[in-house]
C-alpha cells in the first residue's frame, strides 16, 4: 500500500473474512468507515481498530437489502480526506437444499451477494472518479466460476458480482481507480465450521495478506488460496457434457 493515508469503507465489517483485513488497515493508520448489521459487534471491531492505531473510525448500520441504508455511508465518505477506498465482504449462502424448498430465497441471495453491493458501488463510483484514485476490493467466490450442484444459486450471484466488477474495472480504470476481484476458496470461518475437511482451506489472516499483496501489485483478480486459480482453470475447462454428469 502507498504511504498516503486512505479511508476505507468496509461493507460487511463484521464478516469473519473482513476482520484481519480491517486490522491491517488499522495498524497502517488508515481511516475506516465500518458498515455492518450487528451493532454491538461493530462497536467491538471499531474499538479494536482504534486501539490498533486507525486514524479515524466510524460505524454505520448497513442492511444490504435496504438501499436507503447506503446514503449515510456515502455521506460519511464524502467528507473524508485522502484516498477513498471500499472493500465489499457482504454475501449470504443458504444451503442449496433450503433454496430448493423455497425458491423465494433466491432474491435474498442475489441481493446480498450481487445487486445490493453493486447498487452501493454504482453510487460510490462517481465519487471515486471525481477524486481520480482509490481502490475497490470486491470479494466474490470460486463458486462463481462455474455453476455446481451444491451451491449454484450462490455461485450465480457471485458470478454476477464478478462480471459487474469486471465492468466496473473497465470503467474506473480510466479514472485511475483500481478495482480488484477477490475469489476465496473455502476459508476457516464460522461458515465452514463443522462442514468437515475442505479442500485447500485457507484462513482469514491469509485472505487479508493476499488482498493487501494484490493491492500493492495492483492485481485485477486474486484467488485465495492461490492454488484455486489453477483448480478453477481446470474446472472451468471441463466440457459441459462431461461436467453435467459430475458432482464436485
Amino acid at each position: 500500500m502507498s504511504e498516503q493515508r486512505e479511508t476505507w469503507i468496509i461493507l460487511g465489517a463484521s464478516s469473519s473474512m473482513a476482520g484481519p483485513f480491517i486490522r491491517s488497515l488499522a495498524e497502517a493508520g488508515h481511516g475506516l468507515i465500518l458498515a455492518g448489521r450487528d451493532k454491538s459487534d461493530l462497536a467491538a471491531i471499531a474499538s479494536d481498530a482504534k486501539a490498533r492505531g486507525a486514524a479515524d473510525v466510524a460505524q454505520v448500520p448497513l442492511d444490504v437489502r435496504d438501499a436507503s441504508s447506503f446514503k449515510p455511508i456515502l455521506n460519511h465518505a464524502e467528507g473524508c480526506e485522502g484516498q477513498l477506498c471500499c472493500a465489499v465482504f457482504v454475501g449470504s449462502m443458504p444451503d442449496q437444499s433450503l433454496i430448493d424448498e423455497d425458491p423465494a430465497l433466491i432474491e435474498g441471495v442475489v441481493t446480498d451477494s450481487f445487486s445490493g453491493p453493486a447498487r452501493f458501488l454504482q453510487a460510490l463510483a462517481p465519487m471515486l472518479e471525481s477524486r481520480g484514485g482509490g481502490s475497490i476490493v470486491g470479494v466474490g467466490s470460486v463458486a462463481g466460476d462455474r455453476g455446481r450442484l451444491g451451491n449454484y444459486v450462490y455461485g450465480a450471484a457471485k458470478a454476477g458480482f464478478a462480471t459487474y466488477l469486471s465492468g466496473l474495472r473497465n470503467r474506473l480504470g480510466r479514472a485511475g481507480v483500481h478495482v480488484m476481484t477477490v475469489k476465496p476458496g473455502p476459508v476457516d470461518t464460522a461458515m465452514t465450521w463443522g462442514l468437515g475437511p475442505q479442500p485447500f482451506m485457507t484462513t482469514p489472516d491469509v485472505v487479508a495478506q493476499d488482498i493487501l499483496k494484490g493491492l500493492r501489485k495492483r492485481r485485477n483478480v486474486v484467488y485465495t488460496a492461490g492454488i484455486w486459480r489453477w483448480v478453477m482453470l481446470v474446472i472451468r475447462n471441463i466440457p459441459e457434457p462431461i461436467f453435467k454428469k459430475m458432482s464436485i
Binding site: S40, D41, S47, T189, W193, G194
Partner: protein, 435 residues
C-alpha cells in the same frame, strides 16, 4: 453449524479428547451457546483444556481489543486475544503486559484461568495481580468483578481453571517499557550451586535459568542464566521472515539421549565464558519457541509431558535431588527451566509460591510417566506444588494436599456452577470439584 465433533488435545498431545467444539466469532453467538467450559489457544500441556464426551467453547476468535489508554497503560481485551499480540501492539508505545508466560500465543482468558507467571515473577508477581477487572459469563448473564468487588469470586476465578464461568474479557494494567527491545545478558553457570547463586544474586527484573537436564555428576545444574531489562535501543536484526512450522511428527529418535545432550552442550558453549550482552527483540526473549510453529510435533505422535514444580527455598536440597533424578534417568529433553519465584499469587489455585521452580519436558513413555509420578510425590513431600497447566499425571490426594485451600475454591465454584457444567478432564481426573 455451531458445534463440530472433533478430536483435540492440549499442547503436550499425550492426552486428547473427542467431543464437540464451538468457535463463536461474535459475543452474541457465545451468549447463545449453552454452558460449556471455555478453552483458549490450548497451550496447557495436559487435560486442563479438554472435555471428553462433552462440549467446549473455543474462544480464540473472540479476540478484539476493546479499549486502550496510552496515558495509563490500561487495556481491555476479549478473552481470545493472544498475550503476545498486546506486547507487539503496545511495546512501541511504551507499554507491555506486566506478566507474560513462555508463549505469546496464550490467550488473555487462559492467562487468567491459569494465573500464569513470567520471567519477572520475583519482581512483579503473577498475572492475576495485574487484572483490574474481568467479565464473566454465568448461565447467559454477564457480570463484572474486580479484586475488591466480588472478591471471593475473583479469587476463585484467577488460577481457577475456568470453573467459575466463562471469562469473556478483562482489563489489564500493563507496565512501562522502553520499547520493543530487551537487553539480555547471558552467563554460564557451571554447576548447580553456581546456577542457584546466579539466580539469587540477580537484581534484574527478568531472570531465568536454562538448565541442561542431561548434565550429571559434577556438571549437574549446568546451564545459562539470562537476565534482561527493557531498553530503548532498537534490536539490530529484527527477526527475518515468517515463523516456520514443524511440518510433520518427528520420529522417536529425534530426541534420543545422544542428540539431546549434544544439543545441550552446544547450546551451553554458545555463551562466551565471561558472559555476553545483546539487544534482542522482545518476542525473542519472552517467547523463544514461538517462531517454530507446532514445535510440540518434535516429540513425535505420542506427545510429551511437562513436569513443573515449585519448592520453597528451604527445600533446595530436595530440588537438587529432583534434578539429579531427572539427569540420571536420561529421559529429559533440551527444554528445562530453573527460576526463582516470589510470593505473588492471585487465588487459592494459583501455582506460584516463593521458592524455586523447575520445568522439564519428557517424551511420553511408561518410564517417563513413572518418573514424573515419583517427582510429584517428592514435590509434595517438600511442601511444594505442581503446575496444573502442565499436569497430566498427578492424582487427587497429592494435588489436594499441594493446594490446601482447594476447598474454598471448590465451594465458590459450586455456588456459581452448581451442576458442574464447566468441569474439564483435569477437574474430573483430580476430583477437584468434589467437596
Amino acid at each position: 453449524m455451531l458445534w463440530k465433533s472433533t478430536s483435540y488435545s492440549g499442547w503436550g498431545r499425550a492426552l486428547s479428547a473427542v467431543g464437540e467444539l464451538a468457535r463463536p466469532e461474535r459475543m452474541s453467538t457465545l451468549a447463545k451457546l449453552g454452558h460449556a467450559p471455555a478453552i483458549g489457544a490450548r497451550r496447557s500441556y495436559g487435560d486442563a483444556c479438554l472435555n471428553t464426551g462433552g462440549q467446549a467453547t473455543d474462544m480464540s476468535r473472540l479476540d478484539r481489543i476493546l479499549g486502550f489508554d496510552v496515558e495509563t497503560g490500561r487495556v481491555e481485551a476479549e478473552a481470545g486475544v493472544p498475550i503476545g499480540e498486546l506486547a507487539r501492539l503496545f511495546a512501541p508505545l511504551g507499554w507491555m503486559p506486566a506478566v507474560m508466560p513462555g508463549t505469546g500465543f496464550a490467550t488473555v482468558g487462559g492467562c487468567i484461568a491459569m494465573d500464569v507467571h513470567g520471567k519477572n515473577h520475583h519482581a512483579d508477581g503473577s498475572f492475576a495481580q495485574h487484572v483490574v477487572s474481568l467479565k464473566l459469563l454465568q448461565d447467559g448473564k454477564s457480570r463484572t468483578i474486580t479484586p475488591k468487588r466480588g472478591k471471593a469470586l475473583f479469587e476463585a476465578t484467577v488460577g481457577g481453571l475456568g470453573q467459575t464461568g466463562i471469562i469473556t474479557s478483562a482489563t489489564l494494567q500493563m507496565i512501562r517499557c522502553e520499547g520493543p527491545g530487551m537487553e539480555v545478558t547471558e552467563q554460564r553457570a557451571e554447576d548447580w550451586d553456581e546456577h542457584i547463586a546466579l539466580l539469587d544474586s540477580s537484581e534484574a527484573r527478568y531472570t531465568v535459568g536454562w538448565l541442561d537436564a542431561t548434565a550429571r555428576g559434577k556438571h549437574l545444574g549446568r546451564g545459562i542464566v539470562e537476565e534482561a531489562r527493557s531498553t530503548a535501543v532498537r534490536p539490530l536484526s529484527a527477526p527475518k521472515g515468517n515463523a516456520k512450522s514443524v511440518p510433520f511428527d518427528f520420529p522417536r529418535f529425534t530426541l534420543s539421549r545422544v542428540i539431546v545432550s549434544g544439543f545441550n552442550k552446544a547450546y551451553y558453549l554458545r555463551i562466551r565464558e565471561g558472559g555476553q550482552t545483546r539487544i534482542k527483540p522482545l518476542e525473542e526473549f519472552f517467547f523463544p519457541l514461538d517462531r517454530i510453529l507446532g514445535w510440540n510435533r518434535l516429540y513425535g505422535k505420542s506427545g510429551f509431558h511437562q513436569f513443573q514444580c515449585v519448592l520453597p527455598e528451604a527445600e533446595l536440597p530436595r530440588l537438587r535431588g529432583i534434578a539429579e533424578k531427572i539427569a540420571g534417568s536420561g529421559l529429559a529433553s533440551p527444554l528445562a527451566v530453573l527460576k526463582r519465584l516470589g510470593p505473588g499469587a492471585g487465588g487459592p489455585m494459583s501455582f506460584p509460591m516463593a521458592g524455586y521452580t523447575l520445568a522439564v519436558d519428557f517424551r511420553e513413555s511408561p518410564k517417563a510417566r513413572a518418573l514424573i509420578s515419583e517427582l510429584i510425590s517428592e514435590t509434595q513431600a517438600g511442601g511444594g506444588r505442581i503446575y496444573l497447566a502442565k499436569d497430566s499425571l498427578a492424582t487427587e490426594d497429592k494435588v489436594k494436599a499441594m493446594y490446601p485451600d482447594w476447598r474454598r475454591w471448590a465451594e465458590e465454584c459450586a455456588r456459581h456452577d452448581p451442576d458442574g457444567a464447566l468441569e474439564t478432564d483435569l477437574t474430573r481426573r483430580l476430583a477437584l470439584r468434589s467437596l
